[in-house]
């Protein structure tokens, strides 16, 4: 398609917003249905066929509620935080290619940009917690910062391991290198680096932690901290946080798909395209939901132990081993 640049830009902005919005709304439905299936109950059934209109009903409810700004909060930061949480997820999608032709921007440092923006997310949740003037929110904000910093390190280390292999940070080129068949995907390229599955598992765990998903959902530890950093938020303020969580999951899963599962490349070598990308991405999203409804929340210190005592040493070891292997072999 050869559209003039401003139109192309506008289309991608609208497309990204629609994609993020639809995903955030309907992943809530998927989550509830999935949770219900794992617990062997039907889940939402009343609103629309199979409860399909439930997200719309939820959104209407949240939007009709008053946006309470409690006295004593830092009102600018308090209002800004939900926007700052939602924005990075949308920004990240600007660089994520859905297929050979469908990408808002094909830039060479796409990977760096995704990580740069996704770390704003941490700051935004922390700001929300800090601005709330609520002790639970502040405890939660402190936890989020230490958790996300702890998990960003192993995530970066495994991504560096991967980039050492691919030699590029351009997401489209990374996917192009994985063309062919299933054994060309980075996850299964054991001939080049037998440690790839370990790298993927670490990346996946870090992604769960970065998106504050169970079993690492310290941001919203309902049983201990009321609703964590979101305690003081009402109505759509809370709704935006909720949507941002799912938007971040989508970004995380898309990234995992691009880096490890061959993006839009088909596993049999022919008919590559967007459907494969979406299929792989939603399979990963399903696994995220599956993990949430399998494991209980970890304790905070064991969460940090997992990162500092296991993930960081293991990812450092894979980095060093990969470097040695690349030098010798």
């Amino acid at each position: 398609m050869n559209l003039p640049e401003p139109f192309r830009l506008l289309l991608f902005v609208l497309g990204t917003m629609a994609f993020v919005g639809a995903n955030a709304a309907y992943l809530v439905w998927v989550e509830r249905k999935g949770a219900a299936r794992f617990q062997r109950r039907p889940g939402p059934t009343e609103v629309g066929p199979a409860g399909l209109l439930q997200p719309i009903a939820d959104a209407l409810k949240l939007m009709s509620k008053q946006l309470i700004v409690p006295p004593g909060v830092d009102s600018i930061l308090f209002r800004l935080a939900p926007i700052l949480v939602m924005m990075p997820a949308m920004m990240c999608l600007a660089t994520i290619p859905f297929s050979e032709a469908l990408a808002a921007r094909n830039i060479n440092v796409a990977l760096v940009m995704v990580f740069a923006f996704s770390s704003i997310n941490v700051m935004a949740i922390m700001l929300g917690g800090w601005a709330s003037r609520n002790k639970y929110a502040i405890i939660s904000a402190a936890r989020i910062v230490s958790q996300n910093i702890a998990y960003e390190i192993p995530m970066m280390l495994v991504v560096i391991t991967l980039v050492m292999m691919t030699g590029t940070m351009n997401l489209r080129e990374i996917v192009d290198q994985q063309a062919g068949a299933i054994w060309h995907w980075n996850l299964f390229r054991l001939d080049e680096n037998p440690l790839m599955p370990v790298t993927f598992v670490i990346f996946y765990i870090c992604m769960l932690a970065e998106t504050n998903r169970a079993p690492f959902d310290m941001a919203e530890a309902e049983s201990e901290l009321v609703a964590g950093a979101f305690t003081e938020y009402a109505g759509m303020g809370f709704g935006v946080y909720f949507m941002a969580e799912y938007a971040n999951i989508v970004v995380g899963c898309a990234l995992a798909t691009l880096l490890f599962l061959g993006g839009w490349q088909s596993p049999i070598g022919v008919w590559s395209g967007i459907p494969w990308f979406l299929l792989k991405m939603y399979a990963l999203v399903f696994s995220v939901i599956w993990v949430r409804w399998t494991f209980p929340r970890t304790q905070f210190y064991s969460l940090l132990n997992l990162s500092w005592k296991i993930l960081i040493p293991v990812s450092l070891a894979t980095l060093v081993l990969t470097a040695i292997m690349m030098k010798i072999l």
Binding site: R37, Q39, R40, P42, W290, T294, F295
Partner: protein
């Protein structure tokens, strides 16, 4: 170095087996009952409030208005009255009222009935904003309203 690595591996395997178990549950049928749309069939010995047993021949109540149940009732929540109709051997019941707000479902009335005219119903959907409906449950009218 061997110990911690084995530990990590064991932990990872236990996580995977946990995931396997939840996935197995995922594909099994629901165990819940969506109450207003469907409900469980009450078991044989469930005790709802008492109702009349219908005489299979005449379609009327078997009650002979002997008032044994009213006497047996520890909470005195049964009021019975009957008349002897022309050409009938037994008395027949004209009034049988149960105060369900007092009844403790002890079953003495069912046990004592010489004509086996009483049984427990299977009704459990009992809710009302006023107690009037349950202060006087009219068993005679219920039997008539519930024509076979």
């Amino acid at each position: 170095m061997n110990g911690p690595l084995i530990n990590v591996w064991r932990g990872f395997r236990s996580l995977v087996s946990g995931m396997r178990i939840t996935l197995q549950q995922f594909f099994k049928p629901n165990v819940t009952v969506q109450y207003p749309h469907e409900s469980i069939k009450m078991p044989e010995r469930f005790r709802g409030h008492i109702i009349f047993v219908r005489d299979p021949d005449s379609g009327k109540s078997l009650c002979i208005a002997c008032k044994s149940c009213a006497k047996a009732c520890p909470s005195e929540c049964i009021v019975v009255d009957g008349v002897k109709r022309e050409g009938e051997k037994k008395k027949s019941v004209t009034e049988f009222k149960l105060d369900f707000t007092k009844c403790s479902l002890c079953g003495s009335c069912v046990e004592v009935c010489p004509a086996d005219a009483l049984r427990f119903s299977k009704e459990y959907n009992l809710a009302s904003p006023t107690k009037g409906e349950y202060v006087e449950i009219d068993l005679v009218r219920r039997l008539e309203a519930d024509k076979p």
